[in-house]
Amino acid sequence: MILPISEFSSKNLTFGDNKKDENNVDYTKDTLLKNNFSTRTRIGLDKFTKAFTVYPARGLKGSINSNFYEFLTMGTVPYVIGSVMLMSIFNSANKHFSAFAQSKASKLGNKMAMGVILYALFKEISKSFTNIPVRLATGIDTELPYAKVNYLLQENPDSTSDLTSIEYHKVGESVDFPRWDQLYGDPKKGEAANFRYDKIAKKNGLGDNLNDSDQEVKPIYKEVLVKSKLAKSFSSFMWAATGVALAFQKPWENYFRVATLKFWNGKEFLHSLRVLGESFVESAKELYKGSPESFSKLERHSGKIMIGSALLITVLGVLNTLHITHKPQKNNADKIMDRNKESVVD
């Protein structure tokens, strides 16, 4: 029987072993995942596909199970379509122009398209400029993912579909309500309850063998989450802007002349890749040094200012994140209460 789309469980549309945990079993409860390239790719593909298929279908139907997660995930749709649209606006009509106008319009159009690509690329890559130093210095992975098992409501009394769906969230997605529970160890697997908190506590100089490392770590964890989010909010867009600035350099025109995606034409494709690399390097140099044709001081140095600003904002953001102020004071209890003194509580 073909089910209507509203009753189509998103669990049926998955990539690889998405709906299974590390032991290759279905997720029966919220499960912490490893933050590695494979998981990130799986999650990315899963969310991307659903953003264009299941979630819009459910949303347009007005499903009672459509939630904020799905709405946010659908945010990818305007990003992708908008990017293609932007490229198209500056390029699609060009082929109808006369040769001269076409060549002029295409130069701008190609740079605009490259700008769209580099915007997205730099925005995503630049998040690591904050994530990696923060993780190395504090032991806190602000992007740690977990799979959430979502229990759905029955759309209608006759519905026979699976009433669960899997959502991919991050432990620190909400700074108001981080999923602390996901960070506790699983005794069934022989893990100590606080083993993750212990590691973070040790890394941040709170010491070993703490009785309640989770309570000690949580304020730090939360502070790092907030500050790193702030750092990423500003630095990632500045790097994205730097990507656009890079795309507008003249050396890219060398690449546009030979660019091809026809990978089956091995020689041409390899040549195109080589020129891509060269153009990238030359464009980066020109962005920094300024165009040789530039005649104003501002134009010559604007690239340096751009790169410098992005760099400065990133460094300041990371330093602010690493400057942890919510560390619990050592021997706190002794300062507050004299253990030798007798006291009566009414």
Binding site: G62, P78, M85, V175, L230, S233, F234, F237, A241, I324
Partner: protein
């Protein structure tokens, strides 16, 4: 330990204190009644509220949002921000990133318009992001369903959120019963159904969810598209605004000239120069000092003026002409001699024998009266020293007859005294020329200071004047003249009403564009009303242009032209100072002398604008003249003066054809060479009738009937070129044209232009057919003058117009259709949203 809570305090406490504790307690609140009702224990009432802002609240809302964002930033810096605050900061980051892109691209763009549009593009993009859901989702949904799908609310903490953000948490309690019921009525929900509120809420939720999804699906298409369309729509008004702003800014440069030049002060350079003079006051002017003075004084001057100033300086400071011979320079000869003889291997004792004693050189020179004076020639000095040294060497050879050093010493001596290179001083001459006799006297210092100051003031003035002339008339897309050009061509060609097919055809090539343009003009001249309407538009445009150009009309008297008067006063002011101080070459270079005045720096300042203006004016006058020539030919009126009764009909037809061709496509180079044409070498004899016309075109009886494969010119037909030139530019313009421009300020200028073309281009000295000139006269002109008079060819103007129009229309047709389709689908979708099975009405029995 006993604890109390709010409920217990109500139950056990004194009613008065209960009232005190509850800030917002209802006045007649009866706790016992509430408890009996079992409805008491429920969440505290929400302090949230729906946001109901009008347009007038936008400024205060923006202010509130800014304050909120600022506080959020402070909280986030300390690591204390919440999710909502971080979400808002992400948006701030996105906008800052956008601003950074616009700011960077701003620095890369060259013209004010393209620079401005970096920010306009950014603004419209964010505006489109905001406007699309408001105009095409929220508004239609409200009109169709009566539900505000983008309702905002403020939660208990004052945080603004979308009401339908999370469909599993909608704060329905913020809507009153009445409001929900009203919305239910708009949604046509039956009145007497069970759980009416829940049903209405579900319907509202469904509509909002469907619309939010629609928003996500359409925003990607809509935002860039809307932004691009908004940019296109804003281009015209922005250009107008910018043109006005630029023009005002340029005019302000002239009206506030004295304060503007202060912005480009050269006081620092003047101070540096004065310091240099002060430090060297009273000292001999060495070549190094002379170079320093020259380079500082000519720094920043144009090549022509700098060259003249160098000539003046060479006269005023004759450094290098004469030198003083001091004891030091005589002493240094000994040192130099020792160095020169170092190639000869000899002991110190032997060297001492050769070297003249301490004062021997001084005494020898003094005896010949060659020591105390200014000398420009040192040949006598050279002889004295040579004989002195030779005498010593001879004595040395005689004392040491076996020594082989004699020849070597003589050779080294020759090298010391004589230079092996023409024009280069020998080592000894260099020693003599160490102390120039010209000294930096106080008078010279004062004079140089004054000259430098005059040039520095002129440099400041010239910067402002150059800035003005650039903004008004430079060959650049951002100038007032270029703006006028674009505006006028757009208006005139628009009035000619080219069809999309004509535009598509004409954009291919200049030749084809010329053909399309010609056919259009012929069709317009065939219809008197259309022609008059077109001339009216042309008249309006040219009158406007004439008005705008008045400010840069260099033929006017200086009293009516600020730029001209500032140029004159600046250059004349500097020239007066220089003339008084005798810097005559510089004076000539600045203001000219006699016949050379036209090549002076001052004349160039005026000429530059005049030439640019003439080029633009000629182009539009040519266009007007083209229309008139086509009209006269098209109606066979006002052509008898050129196409005389003595001319064969076939030649007349050829003549009319060439006139049209020249008007539409000739360049100045075409006037210089022969106008080759498809002509018949043996025209039909006997027919001297006037040309016939129909529908604005010539009905050729002979032209084109002769089999001719190539273009020709007849050297013996000496009246042909004259007839063509006169047909185009001589005699009166047609009354239909005159009627429309008779009151225009540019009429006399236009008539002058026609005369100029006839004389300058028609009688050019270098025309390759010397016997074919108009009225046999010869007129001298430069190639630039002829180029400027010819102006832009009509077919090229049309070609550019066709291309630009085609490109923008093509773009519009592609993306306009997509946009229209998107809007259509988005609006239509509303009629499919919110569909729910209506519950059955309550039956009376149940009641």
């Amino acid at each position: 330990m006993r604890t109390t809570n709010l409920i217990q305090s109500y139950v056990n406490g004194n009613p008065v204190t209960q009232q005190y504790n509850a800030d917002k307690a209802v006045k007649d609140f009866d706790i016992h009644k509430e408890l009996n009702n079992r409805t008491f224990i429920k969440p505290l009432p929400s302090n949230g509220k729906l946001v109901r802002n009008s347009l007038f609240d936008i400024p205060s809302e923006i202010r509130k949002d800014w304050i909120y964002d600022f506080k959020s930033f402070k909280h986030a810096l300390k690591g204390e921000a919440n999710d909502h605050e971080l979400g808002r900061l992400n948006d701030v980051g996105m906008k800052l990133g956008g601003l950074a892109i616009a700011a960077y691209l701003f620095t890369k763009k060259q013209t004010p318009m393209t620079k401005l549009f970096e920010f306009v593009g950014l603004g419209t993009f964010f505006a489109a992001m905001d406007l699309w859901p408001k105009l095409f989702i929220q508004l239609p949904a409200y009109l169709v369903h009566g539900v505000n799908v983008r309702q905002e609310y403020e939660d208990s903490f004052g945080r603004k959120k979308m009401f339908y953000q999370d469909h599993q948490f909608i704060p329905w309690d913020l809507y009153s019963e009445q409001e929900i019921n009203n919305i239910g009525d708009s949604l046509n929900v039956p009145k007497n159904i069970p759980n009416r509120r829940e049903f209405i809420q579900e319907k509202m939720r469904k509509i909002a969810l469907q619309n939010n999804t629609l928003w996500m699906l359409t925003a990607g298409f809509a935002t860039p598209l809307m932004s691009a369309l908004m940019c296109n729509a804003l281009e015209g008004p922005a250009a107008k605004m910018l043109n006005k702003f630029k023009s005002q800014k340029a005019d302000a440069l002239m009206s506030d000239f004295s304060s503007e030049i202060k912005k480009y002060s050269f006081e620092k350079q003047q101070k540096q120069f004065e310091d240099l003079l002060k430090a060297n006051a009273g000292k001999p002017i060495t070549p190094e000092l002379y170079e320093a003075i020259k380079s500082q004084m000519t720094n920043g001057l144009d090549y022509m003026v700098a060259d003249a100033l160098k000539k003046d300086l060479a006269i005023k400071i004759p450094a290098g002409n004469s030198f003083k011979l001091s004891q030091e320079s005589v002493d240094s000869i000994q040192g130099a001699l020792k160095a020169a003889l170092s190639s000869v291997q000899m002991s110190d004792e032997e060297f001492a024998k050769i070297m003249p004693d301490g004062d021997a050189i001084s005494n020898a020179l003094s005896n010949k009266n060659l020591l105390n004076g200014d000398y420009s020639d040192f040949s006598e000095h050279s002889k004295v020293i040579q004989s002195l040294l030779e005498e010593k060497i001879e004595q040395f050879i005689q004392a040491n007859p076996d020594s082989k050093l004699g020849k070597k010493l003589k050779f080294a001596l020759q090298q010391f005294i004589h230079s092996g290179e023409v024009g280069v001083d020998s080592s000894m001459f260099k020693m003599f020329k160490q102390v120039p006799s010209t000294v930096l006297t106080p008078e010279l210092i004062e004079s140089l200071k004054e000259v430098s100051s005059a040039f520095n003031v002129l440099k400041s003035e010239q910067i402002v004047l150059d800035k003005y002339s650039h903004m008004k008339a430079a060959l650049a897309p951002e100038t007032s003249l270029a703006d006028s050009w674009n505006e006028i061509t757009e208006k005139i060609f628009k009035q000619m009403n080219f069809t999309p097919e004509e535009i598509k055809k004409g954009r291919v090539d200049v030749e084809v564009a010329g053909e399309v343009f010609r056919n259009k003009i012929e069709s317009i001249v065939a219809d008197k009303t259309a022609y008059e309407n077109l001339i009216e538009v042309v008249e309006k445009c040219l009158s406007e242009l004439h008005g705008k150009m008045a400010a840069i009309d260099m033929t006017q008297d200086a009293s009516n032209n600020l730029y001209k008067s500032h140029v004159i006063s600046s250059f004349d002011g500097a020239a007066d100072v220089l003339r008084r101080l005798g810097f005559n070459y510089s004076v000539d270079s600045l203001v000219g002398f006699g016949d050379n005045a036209a090549t002076s720096a001052k004349a160039l300042m005026l000429e530059f604008i005049e030439e640019r203006k003439l080029g633009v004016k000629s182009s539009f006058y040519r266009l007007l003249n083209t229309l008139d020539v086509f009209y006269r030919i098209g109606h066979a009126q006002g052509i008898d003066g050129a196409l005389t009764p003595q001319m064969l009909r076939e030649v007349k037809e050829e003549c009319a054809e060439l006139a049209k061709t020249i008007m539409l496509g000739a360049h100045s180079s075409d006037y210089a060479v022969k106008f080759w044409q498809l002509r018949n070498p043996s025209p039909h004899q006997g027919d001297y009738s006037q040309i016939e016309v129909k529908d604005g075109k010539v009905v050729n009886r002979y032209f084109g009937t002769h089999q001719s494969g190539e273009l020709v010119e007849f050297a013996n037909d000496r009246n042909y070129f004259e007839a063509v030139m006169k047909l185009m530019n001589d005699g009166d313009i047609h009354p239909a044209t005159r009627a429309k421009i008779k009151d225009s300020a540019f009429l006399s200028d236009f008539e002058h232009y026609r005369r100029q073309v006839l004389e300058v281009l028609g009688c050019d000295e270098y025309f390759v057919k010397p016997n074919h000139k108009v009225d046999g006269k010869t007129v001298w002109s430069t190639s630039l003058e002829r180029f400027l008079l010819t102006g832009s060819a009509g077919d090229e103007m049309a070609y550019k117009y066709f291309n630009q129009t085609f490109n923008s229309k093509k773009w519009f047709s592609m993306f306009g259709k997509l946009g229209a389709g998107l809007v259509g689908v988005t609006l239509l979708a509303q009629f499919f949203f919110g569909r729910m099975k209506k519950p059955e009405a309550k039956s009376k029995e149940v009641k």
